[in-house]
Amino acid sequence: MKRKICILLLSLLAASCKKEAVRLSTSANDLFWLSNAGADMPVWVRGNTASKVMILFLHGGPGDGSLVYAGFQTDQLWNQYAVAYWDQRDAGAAAGNNNYSNLSLDQMIQDLEKLVTLIKYRYGSDMEIFLMGHSFGGLLGSGYLVKGTNQNNIRGWIEVDGAHDYPESNTLERQMLIDTGSSEIAKGHNVSQWTTIVNYCSAHPANVSLDVDLTTDDYASQAENYVNINHTTTAVNYFSPSSPLSFGANLYFLNYTVRGRAFLASLETLSFTDQLYKITIPSLLIWGQYDFTVPSTSGYHALNNLGSSYKHLVLMPESGHVPMDGNTGLFAQTVLQFVTAVK
């Protein structure tokens, strides 16, 4: 009996000393964490890791968390490729103690650099990584790609309604709300709602204060309803690996505390438009035609400025700021075609 126990203990000891072997799979459902500069950030990997292609999703917000998009919006990609859903620091289910002092775009870019290194360590250096940045993730992804030699580690860039230029987005957002609102009022559509929006935007220039820009963002979200953009109504999945309580706590901290708002205010002046020429990897730009938050004009500007020789912009005709919701099938098809073409 004693001998059996000794063998068992030795086996356990040997197993604990062994380097973690990650099994590639056609239906992976992995979770691992990157701990960096006071933040512990979860990464859920779903789909086909055996394909040796991974789409690394950079969520928006900031603060939104990535698992919000891990359902019907992107699951059509899983059969062919893997998708990594990363919760950025102070977002979603990311945890840590007193780490606010490290909350900055520069730090998040460093987090992303380390995550790319980690993915290649964990899944093999031949894993081809595509970055997909949505909204704020467009700013983060652009910031990462224009820095140093980072883009050498990335096979392709997919920007989805990305805010790679906050001041420009704010200006275009306000103008689109005024133009569309005036047109809709003239047609007699949702007159009282549009009048409120147009009056507010007319009275408040963009890029003057965080409060104005956040309020305009709220109006931009509402405006999608007034032009009949389809928002899929599904039961909110409270019972998921990403707790709505941690999601809510992180969002509350960002939006309603002095320190969180200071971070949001620091983003309002950031722009990578004049550095987009540095990005030379294949790039796909996907934009919702009725995105008021980051209007498609911003996508066209990015298309003109990107240094890539292989670049496309695809408009999603029934979408607002979240085309993976408005045109789920077309979105997946567009992404799959791009990845398959350049992998």
């Binding site: 604990s16 973690e20 992995d30 979770l31 691992f32 964490w33 990157l34 701990s35 960096n36 933040a39 512990d40 979860p42 859920w44 620091r89 102070d90 289910a93 990311a94 945890a95 840590g96 103690n97 007193n98 780490n99 606010y100 380390k114 290194t117 980690l118 360590y121 964990r122 409270y238 019972f239 998921s240 690996p241 990403s242 707790s243 709505p244 309580l245 941690s246 706590a249 992180n250 509350y252 901290f253 505390t257 320190r259």
Partner: protein, 226 residues
């Protein structure tokens, strides 16, 4: 003969007490032996954490209020014990983290002759989390290391209410009770802020009649105003 000012003061005194409908007529203090209790519980924390915990409850002070019903004149005893409780437990939140926690609290238990009882507790403690899945660190040179059993320490504090049924006061007295405990607590500092929790426990509580400690018991006799 009562002097007029004294009469006025007494009258005001009675008026102040009138809304309560009772007059505290008699208090007494004595020491009684009360049993220690141990408990085990299954634990659920919103949204997907399940675990278990075990703890101990010490009686600290006891108060018995004997009230007389205004109409029937029947006497009823109401017990209000101050209790100190402590527990250790764990939860597992698949694809997120597991936690090991220890806390201690103070609260009050209310019960009468019937078996039902109610408690509230204020708790403070410490929580240690362990992340699900491997945790990696990447240094400035791109070297990757695995952090074994990595997690974070947090302080925790919260409020719990307990609704229970004490079989000891049932028709066939048994030394145990069952209780349901909804609670709300926060862990901090969580990303420089707090993380709220909403939990509940299903508790099996066993009283050790052989392990008693002396506690001060105050008896208060309340009589209704005429």
């Amino acid at each position: 003969m009562v002097k007029p000012p004294t009469l006025i003061v007494s009258y005001i005194f009675f008026l102040v007490l009138l809304p309560n409908g009772v007059l505290r007529a008699q208090d007494s203090l004595r020491k009684v032996m009360m049993p220690l209790e141990v408990f085990g519980a299954v634990y659920y924390d919103f949204p997907q954490s399940f675990g278990a915990l075990a703890g101990i409850v010490f009686p600290w002070k006891s108060k018995i209020v004997t009230a007389t019903a205004k109409k029937s004149g029947q006497k009823e005893e109401r017990n209000r014990d101050i209790i100190v409780a402590s527990d250790i437990g764990f939860y597992r939140y698949p694809y997120n983290n597991s936690g090991l926690f220890f806390d201690a609290g103070i609260g009050k238990r209310y019960y009468k002759a019937h078996p039902y009882f109610f408690e509230w507790l204020i708790k403070v403690g410490v929580l240690r989390t362990f992340y699900d899945g491997l945790v990696y660190r990447v240094d400035g040179n791109g070297n990757v290391s695995v952090l074994k059993s990595f997690g974070r320490y947090y302080a925790l504090t919260g409020f719990a209410s307990v609704i229970g049924y004490d079989f000891h006061r049932g028709k066939k007295p048994q030394p145990f009770a069952l209780a349901f405990t909804p609670s709300a607590w926060v862990q901090y500092p969580y990303n420089s802020f707090i993380l709220p929790h909403v939990s509940c426990e299903l508790i099996f509580l066993y009283r050790f009649d052989s392990m008693k400690r002396g506690v001060k018991q105050k008896r208060v006799l309340q009589t209704p105003n005429k």
